[in-house]
Symmetry: C2
Subunit: 279 residues, 2 copies
Amino acid sequence: MSRRPPFPQQLVNAWAAQSSLLCVGLDPIPERFPNGVSRDPAGCFEFCRRIADAVADSVCAFKPQFAHFAALGAERELAELIAYLHDRHPHVPVILDAKRGDIGSTAERYAQEAFVRYDADAITVNPFLGPESLAPFLAWQDRGVVVLCRTSNPDSAWLQGSGSDTAPAYLKIAAAAAEWNRHGNVMLVTGATYPKELGRIRAVAPNVTLLVPGLGSQGGDLRASLAAGLDSRGRGLVFNVAREVLYAAEDETFEAAARNAAAMWRERIELCRADVRGL
Amino acid sequence: MSRRPPFPQQLVNAWAAQSSLLCVGLDPIPERFPNGVSRDPAGCFEFCRRIADAVADSVCAFKPQFAHFAALGAERELAELIAYLHDRHPHVPVILDAKRGDIGSTAERYAQEAFVRYDADAITVNPFLGPESLAPFLAWQDRGVVVLCRTSNPDSAWLQGSGSDTAPAYLKIAAAAAEWNRHGNVMLVTGATYPKELGRIRAVAPNVTLLVPGLGSQGGDLRASLAAGLDSRGRGLVFNVAREVLYAAEDETFEAAARNAAAMWRERIELCRADVRGL
């Protein structure tokens, strides 16, 4: 059995087939599960599976969040979930959000974990230890390597903005990512809460796809992010939304509520995208 | 059953009782296991258990490395190993090397993973997302929070050294760690390969214990690290050595070889420490 297409191809296909720049983050929080879904590893799998089935028509990617599984010892369920997504929604790439970062030989083990054990299409990585810590991931040319750059949280400038104003750390990362992107498989995490910085990143990395968290409760600016971040082909952005979709309702209507919320976010992004592009 | 003593107390006790600043990193690499130890999760547990038993007299801490277990799906064995260490070597704190780093609510899940699921005494964390990403770990006052600062690898200056020479990122982290260290449970990772930087970190964080990797094959400078890093009480340092101990021999003599290697490292550090202190 041949594997799935290379990650960048998956993403281009999904953008086109789904008409969507929306990624739904799968962050299972047992305390918020509706009645009838068990608050244990099996429930994590079931909840995420039902959410994914409900929202699949509206998304270009899924992003399961490692910590929410690991805290419960639900690694087997995480692997089962990714296998399920590949099987039922083969056109939707799966980004494992694990923010790994370690030196050479250890990073190789993390790449093994993400790409063999979990068979993720892409993984988020932390560049704090330098380029050599990312090389073992980049060696997997058919998988996506999603590098933290300027994250959406209030504190993100603390280290990411260190350096001079003309050469902050996050732009150094962005410029390096543009170099590493020979196979089109590198992405950068850039919060919608910092559209000005997002625009600076786009300027130094014109062909790198940006994974953009921070819409919804974090107050990120969709229009400004689109205006600053769309690439020359009018795409190049993936907006992650998690809780506003997963927990749109916390009762037995949760699947319908998630479906509606995802469809609404997809459409909101598409309308704003067309508007920004002057279409 | 009451839990173990607070992490800083464990470390002070272990330094004194063991006369050692040596931490042995537990990085199981199945390809290097001797014949008779299976190259699977069960073998990872067995190998680490036998190494730990062999070296326990020479160490002040154990540091299991998460990636080496996760790549093989050996989380259960990692949990069993930590439980075994607590049971058989209760005076030796266990630092889980997982380099976690994520925003608030997700970091809480990672703290849950480290301190509840695995019952580690301490965890390594990555500060790239800013202070709020570390707060959920710091809330566990009886556990150790070991913050990456200036790592031992050749690339570490890439981001860690960003900023001006007088105010590089790693010194910002060190100064913050000194603030966070009200309960004495914060540590900083500072490579023996950069003793000058280690000294600058010690200057801004005089009471923070430093976890120092990079001796052995990385070529770190033991004497310079001791001279720059010992605190006012002549301790405050934990030197991590992994492969030079674990794989001192890769045949059936591996336990004796590891025991000898750990004893040699312990003694080398102690002799150099006495010499540096002029005792």
